[in-house]
């Protein structure tokens, strides 16, 4: 069951792709293709175009990312201050879960 303080969980099946998009944009603006390449390199997951743009549309609707002027046919996106807060919060939650998991493994 998703934690109540995990706002990304409200995105349903797009919560994980949205998290990966926010992580990808955390070090600077990127367009869709650059995001998929970056996510594949960082997380080993190749997001399909339908999933990627489903996540982008939801993040944009929540104003956690914003579009920049298009460059040729590609439009870069950047993370907003609200998006950074959400990402920081989510990563802290994951870190806490990972800490518990590691501690339990050490006990076992």
């Amino acid at each position: 069951m998703p934690r109540r303080d995990d706002v990304l969980a409200g995105l349903g099946r797009f919560s994980e792709p949205a998290l990966l998009v926010l992580i990808s944009l955390a070090d600077g603006p990127k367009h869709g293709y650059a995001m998929t390449q970056d996510i594949e390199a960082v997380a080993g997951q190749k997001l399909g175009p339908g999933t990627l743009y489903g996540a982008i549309a939801r993040l944009e609707a929540r104003r956690w990312i914003e579009p920049l002027p298009p460059q040729e046919r590609r439009r870069p996106y950047r993370i907003t201050a609200a998006g950074q807060r959400v990402l920081r919060h989510r990563l802290a939650g994951l870190q806490a879960v990972a800490r518990v998991g590691r501690a339990r493994l050490a006990e076992g």
Partner: protein
Amino acid sequence: MAAAERLLRLYPRAWRERYGEEFLATVGRGPLQMQQMIDIVSGAIDAWSSTEVRGVTRPAAPDDGKERRMRIGLRGVCERGTLRYTRRDALIGAAVMLLATLALSAMVMAARRNGWTTADAVLTQLAFPGSLVLSMPFWLLKGQSWRSQAVLMAGLLAVLLAIAWLASLT
């Protein structure tokens, strides 16, 4: 026309206007893998069905009251590509879905009575999702061209049929 461009036509017009160019630039012009095609089709279903996605692809409402009134007046003429269905349409869709479920259930019973095991298994899997797809022209796809409706419905039914058939083999 590249496969990605053809599949892009499954998306609502407002979505295509907002994301179409960059979407094609992201996908590229090369041949698509089956997994990518399935992802694009499921993205199209999401673009039609998610109010949040439709909200972000709809033009922003202007602050000025006069402009806002003009926009509302023109919306019916200009926004044919966006999803619009009334409560009545939803009720008709629900009634069609119910009738289709009953019809498919009757077919399941007939297949069972005659000992047609494959047909029985396939129709059992298909009864609910198939009915949902058959009801779509009355609400979700209302206002779309007959061609878009036919492509989307035939595609979905074919995928459902294939899944149900494969499931019946196991």
